[in-house]
């Protein structure tokens, strides 16, 4: 049993939350787009530049050794964060998008031919659709899409039917960015494994909301972005089983991913370095490691999950009481995002009016146009929760929505 989250204390960790927007306190409910950064992360990045700035894995000098150590310590932190067995299974990438592309290119592409299939779901973000379409078009493989029901939940019987010996990858979001649906990943992995289908889990919207243990999930690959987990932008993690990573060809060529180079032949470095060509985002990796420790050790992900579950329930109830408001996506298990539409008002106008009240939400299709189409809406408004949000902020959102109604239905 972990201690409950002290939201007042947590808010103090995030300097930006003191911002006034047109004289009103910022209410930041766009955490699914990106999260704010705690002082601890900002300090770690600054400290890195002030005390150990050097290139890694090559210099013999003091600073380079320090930088390399900090960089590799962050890999250990990411390994612990995901419950992985081996830090060699942690590949630093730019973000989830790059991770999906890496797996598509390096793991799936070599094993894909005409007649083979790629399975995704109707809930996916464009970044877990487009890389597969590109592969499909190159190889003549088929892209299959598992349907969702009216609640925005995957229809498991359909997934079962779509998994076949021809399926070369099943790539699925852990949590939907547009609807907040939490997919039963462990069960899905079980279904896939029985047919020998490898599974990539897009964890971009999951890791900041509840503990993730990749060994418990049983998947083959797991990807997430640092900036959605209170870390810097431009850095993320691809976790992959060592046996897969070992067998995969490199993804980009360059420095750091090689052991030796002649014009005749190059010997590639061992994993994970084989996949980290070029000077990496060193400050990003260090900042990310700090953010993951903040989540895992300082606040505790069980406490985050409990806090956000309370907020999700409260927000769902309060929003349900707003006249003309319809929540899009009513899955039994949700995390992070609540999408909604307001009768007679376009989400874009909702967003503009809320912004006048200092309330930041996202409006649009959330890079998930197939989801919008499934629910027959061109766009939604989306409030998405983070560990620092409060019930008072949900009240402010509801008051802001009343203001929207006043403007549009006087």
């Amino acid at each position: 049993m972990t201690a409950a989250l002290d939201v007042r204390k947590v808010r103090g960790d995030f300097p930006i939350l003191g911002t006034l927007v047109r004289g009103k306190p910022l209410v930041y409910l766009d955490n699914a787009a990106t999260t704010q950064k705690p002082t601890r992360v900002l300090d770690a990045i600054r400290r890195a530049y002030e005390t150990l700035n050097a290139n890694i894995h090559r210099g013999v000098h003091f600073l380079s050794e320090r930088a390399t150590k900090a960089y590799e310590e962050a890999r250990l932190k990411a390994c612990r964060f995901l419950g992985a067995a081996d830090p060699r299974e942690i590949v630093f990438v730019r973000g989830t998008t790059e991770a999906v592309n890496l797996v598509a290119r390096s793991f799936v592409r070599p094993r894909l031919g005409p007649g083979d299939e790629i399975l995704i779901t109707h809930l996916e973000h464009h970044s877990n659709i487009v890389p597969w379409q590109m592969l499909r078009d190159e190889t003549g493989a088929a892209l299959r899409v598992a349907p969702i029901d009216d609640r925005g939940e995957l229809i498991l019987e359909e997934v079962e039917k779509l998994l076949s010996p021809r399926t070369k990858i099943f790539s699925v979001a852990h949590v939907s960015n547009a609807l907040g649906t939490v997919n039963p990943v462990k069960r899905l992995v079980g279904m896939a494994r029985r047919r020998g289908v490898p599974v990539l889990v897009d964890g971009a919207q999951a890791v900041a909301h509840a503990p993730v243990d990749v060994r418990d999930l049983g998947c083959d690959f797991y990807a997430f972005s640092g900036h959605k987990a209170y870390g810097p932008t431009g850095i993320g993690v691809l976790w992959g089983k060592a046996e897969h990573l070992e067998a995969m060809p490199p993804w980009q060529g360059g420095g750091d991913m090689i052991l030796s180079v002649t014009f005749e032949k190059t010997v590639y470095n061992r994993i994970p370095f084989k996949f980290e060509a070029g000077t990496p985002h060193i400050e990003g990796v260090i900042g990310l490691g700090e953010a993951l420790d903040y989540l895992r050790e300082e606040v505790g992900l069980d406490a985050v999950a409990a806090h956000e579950r309370d907020l999700m329930g409260y927000a769902t109830e309060r929003l349900g009481g707003v006249k003309g408001l319809r929540i899009i996506g009513t899955a039994r298990e949700k995390a992070g995002a609540i999408s909604f539409v307001l009768e007679g008002v376009h989400p874009h106008d909702v967003g503009t009016i809320l912004d006048q009240e200092g309330i930041a939400i996202r409006t649009g299709h959330h890079c998930a146009q197939p989801v919008m189409e499934r629910f027959g809406v061109p766009a939604t408004a989306r409030a998405s929760l983070g560990l620092y949000n409060t019930r008072e902020e949900i009240d402010a959102l509801v008051a802001g929505l009343r203001r929207v109604s006043e403007v549009f239905h006087p």
Partner: protein, 148 residues
């Protein structure tokens, strides 16, 4: 809240709720489509030109209050105008909504002057006009707010 009042003026809300010249134009001889992929706005314009006069114009589509009202008010203000006159109107409308001056003699279109305070909404106000220009120039590709 004066800013919000500037943006959502009554004439804009009126044209959003009850768009004028909405629906298909059966005997159209020009057409164009406009998209605002960031908001999911879609606009379809049909015109009947006689010589260089816009004899009739109607639109269909969905979008936010600003984009729908802009399309509605645009159709009203360019109907019966020549090509050159419509261009001239846009020539005044565009600097007004982007905050570069202009306006002052645009009649109902001046309702959009508040848009200049909301830079992210400028595209909503100009989508219909860019689409009109495409129709007048006989371009058939979909006009997107995300090009250029």
């Amino acid at each position: 809240m004066s800013d919000l009042g500037d943006l959502y003026q009554e004439v804009i809300l009126d044209h959003y709720r009850n768009p004028r010249n909405f629906g298909p134009l059966p005997d159209a001889n020009r057409a164009a489509h406009g998209d605002n992929p960031l908001c999911g706005d879609r606009l379809s314009l049909q015109l009947r030109m006689k010589g260089d006069v816009i004899e009739d114009i109607r639109f269909r589509g969905s979008g936010c209050a600003i984009s729908v009202a802009s399309a509605s008010l645009m159709t009203e203000s360019v109907r019966g105008k020549t090509l050159a006159e419509a261009e001239a109107l846009f020539g005044k409308f565009h600097p007004m909504v982007t905050g570069k001056g202009g306006g002052g003699d645009l009649g109902k279109l001046e309702a959009f002057s508040g848009v200049s305070e909301f830079p992210v909404r400028v595209k909503c106000a100009t989508l219909a006009w860019h689409t009109l220009r495409a129709a007048l120039q006989g371009r058939t590709e979909t006009i997107s707010t995300e090009q250029g």
